[in-house]
Symmetry: C2
Subunit: 515 residues, 2 copies
């Protein structure tokens, strides 16, 4: 049978990154992009270049770095948008510009304040402009699933006439159902002029829990590109989750015989873990494919009949998605070289000060903790890399607390090269630590969320703290890792403050958002 | 148009409770059952009575308590199973026995070691036995989606002949797809003998992320009962999530005009929060409907155009699922009576010592924290209720830690009426606390996971700690709440040890598991 290639289009770095608390800096984006390439995705949407200088730089850096994947920059139909996107991807081996405009009446009226005729003009103009920069142009009709069908056909026909080779049909608000969405794709394939050589693409949001099913239904109807994200992150309830789409296609390949995909599924779990460790956003235990409980025979109940259970209750193996977790990787006698090699295998390319910092953290952790797992290394690396471009540095903490006393924290920071120190008390120890730090730095942000999870099992596990803070509409998550969870808390708060400084320079709160 | 009632069958207390770390005691189950009744579910599967005395007692207590919902007990086809289920539900106003046996060749061979003829005999015998206890008998064919279709028709026909009025078609391993599953339901409705007056029911697992879509497809094909759980908890990747199924039916009622449901959707968010606060298992931020980020205009970015965004990007309102969160409910001058009334509104019926304990915690929290939210009350209640049947009690903690020193913890516990005390140091402060406690109690469990999240926003928020520990194949989660996160850690660990004690008395690790 002659199978057709289905393109997996990953938008973790763009739509995913737009979700609250998931913003990443250049170094973090590069690290994730490398893992996405190892995973074998066909297209990487690296960012929204017009949104900020930081976005632009990230798309540019990823364009230079990647070998195989198409690198894509998002742009509205405006001239400047397309220009910035074109500049950002120009050094990519396979560059793409992805331009979009809304097509539903509700968006035309409330958001764009444009007529249908104006929209059609914009589509033609922007796709032609993009074609001057790159051969490969994708066009998206935002809110396609709530758009008038005849108008949608007109819009897509105009995009094809102007040179677009991929037509994306976003379910922007997560409103559609599998049957309806499949029918829409079939209708478009039949009626859009020049649809013959075109890749139809789908981009589903998960507001009703149907994003994966909608994507699969569209594939059945002839879509040949799926836009998705690792762990399903993205605006609101997120996007179709890459791992669920891929494993549904693999496990039920009997239903998708005409499709082939280029994904190395063993890289799914490492990608999921890497994203969680970078953003501090964990998946819930019952998350399909990548959640802690997703596999029956990893559920920890090592009872009789686990192997029997595997065959009776499991439709895929943990190994098929690269879940050979809790593997011992390094001990306290491992040297610089072994550490460096192991990091490379995990996808981290650390150099200079970053590497030195990570290695020192590793040695001190190896003194405190008998066994160092992959998860520990991921945590160390994200902790070390994130100190780039930092204004504040954590130096030291002394804390006393307990049930009968008011918690007291003495914190030392480094700020612009000087050591500063302060003592504070609070309702709880975290309050005391954070008060000391915000008094030291003269900052006043609101604490939105505070979370801790242990990086691995065991009493000597490192604690990974994530702190969400908000200031003037800007929301960031800071992470800190340490075997002392209170030290990790201080580091996470300092990290969040550094991120806030960085975002103040980077992205306006009114920056445009995508499809 | 004459709409038919679709029954919402909640199995949070049975399939949900079987997932790692989600086990609940009687008091917790009762609290959740009351909320499920407020939510308006048609059927509550309250447990698996043969599995343990604890399960039996819970089903019995829920049967006595509920006014409107059908209360259902699960049973394999064995005589003793049916008998126990019958006894457990006997005082329910609307009792049901739900019996099941596997029908796929793979389960017949590896799990049951039975022939098809033997399975048919079991079905007939068990349904007739159940009918002697109750009028309302449901029969499930475990692993139906991997079963031979003709055999499945035979099995279901036998169940109908024996008196079953609901036939459930579980996708036990989460293997099917919407199209295939809809076709299966249609086939069964057409070919099962006597299918006319029967409720066809679906029970989908989410291993490929398709549980909700599969359920909706089956409804289109004529299924009139959906089995689901709050937050989608359940074995492995969990069950179809109740909130997603319900809101998909509501938001897309244009596609389900022939269906009506009896759910009060404003009770969805309270139910989700209650379950999380009881089990300590949080949903991920991008979880559809109930996740922190699920709604665009709650995303915390209070930028211009949020209301515009609401109409352009939201297909339902937060209010429709009861998300009017962060509501100030009580202050430090609120008395016993106001506290009691507010708890009742939240669904908690605390009495005697439980109430006194909760009220003391409330007063001490109100001293430390300016604003008390609903979430704080939920946390206080679950913290107070859980001290039932406890062997150990937390008394006091003094802790010192920091970056330059070895953490040191002094812990006081109460054990069988006596106060005991011990000091220990560790790699981190949590390690030090847990070492002190395990030395004091002479226990040796393995720490699997340690998590903290702040109950509300703000620096004076309470910390909710959940600790997963395992001993001899038994895994439990303990929770602790306190404004001092280290005190909360100690309480969570003590709670986990108490749960472990309780489970040792309660459920064998080889206890049967359901469909």
């Amino acid at each position: 049978m002659n199978a057709e290639r289905l393109r997996i289009f990953d938008t973790t770095l763009r739509d995913g990154e737009q979700s609250p608390g998931c913003s990443m800096n250049l170094q973090e984006k590069l690290t994730l992009a490398r893992q996405l390439e190892r995973l074998g995705v066909d297209v990487i949407e690296a960012g929204f270049p017009i949104a900020s200088d930081g976005d632009f730089d990230s798309v540019r850096a990823i364009s230079k770095e990647l070998e195989n994947a198409i690198v894509c920059g998002l742009a509205r139909t405006g001239k400047l948008d397309i220009e910035r996107a074109g500049q950002a991807v120009e050094s990519a081996r396979k560059p793409r510009i992805h331009t979009f405009i809304a097509t539903s009446d509700i968006h035309l009226e409330y958001k764009l304040r444009m007529s249908r005729a104006q929209v059609l003009e914009e589509v033609d103009r922007s796709v032609r402009q993009a074609k001057a920069f790159v051969d490969d142009v994708e066009f998206s009709a935002e809110d396609a699933t709530r758009s008038d069908r005849d108008f949608l056909v007109e819009v897509f026909s105009a995009a094809v006439a102007a040179g677009a080779s991929t037509l994306n049909v976003p379910d922007t608000v997560g409103y559609t159902t599998p049957k309806e969405y499949g029918a829409l794709i079939a209708h478009l394939r039949e009626h859009v002029e020049g649809a013959g050589g075109i890749f139809f693409s789908v981009h589903c949001h998960n507001d009703l829990g149907l994003a994966v099913a909608n994507s699969l239904s569209a594939i059945r109807a002839g879509a040949r590109q799926v836009e998705c994200t690792v762990n399903g992150i993205g605006e609101r309830a997120g996007n179709a989750s890459l791992e669920e789409v891929v494993m549904a296609l693999r496990v039920r390949s009997d239903q998708f015989e005409d499709i082939e995909i280029g994904i190395n599924s063993e890289e799914i779990y490492p990608a999921s873990r890497l994203l969680s460790s970078i953003t501090g956003v964990q998946v819930q235990p019952n998350k399909a494919i990548v959640g802690d409980n997703a596999f029956a025979h990893e559920a920890g109940i090592h009872q009789d009949g686990v192997l029997k259970a595997a065959i009776t209750y499991e439709i895929m193996t943990p190994e098929s998605i690269g879940r050979a977790s809790n593997e011992l990787v390094l001990g306290k006698h491992s040297g610089r070289h072994a550490f460096h090699d192991r990091l490379l295998e995990l996808g981290f390319k650390l150099e200079g000060d970053d590497f030195q910092r990570a290695f020192r953290r590793f040695k001190s952790l190896a003194d405190a903790k008998k066994v160092i797992y992959n998860e520990d290394l991921e945590a160390i690396v994200s902790d070390s890399v994130q100190t780039i471009e930092d204004r504040y540095g954590f130096e030291a903490l002394v804390l006393t607390c307990g049930s009968g006393q008011s918690p007291n924290a003495r914190v030392q920071l480094q700020q612009d090269g000087k050591i500063i120190e302060r003592e504070a008390s609070g309702v709880g120890p975290v309050d005391a630590i954070f008060c000391a730090i915000s008094e030291l730095t003269g900052t006043s942000s609101e604490l939105i969320q505070y979370q801790v999870h242990a990086v691995t099992a065991g009493l000597d596990a490192q604690g990974e703290v994530s702190v969400t803070i908000e200031e003037e509409g800007r929301r960031v998550i800071g992470n800190g890792v340490h075997e002392d969870v209170m030290v990790a808390s201080a580091k996470a708060y300092v990290h969040a403050l550094n991120k806030l400084e960085w975002h103040k320079k980077r992205r306006d709160v009114d920056a445009p958002r995508g499809i």
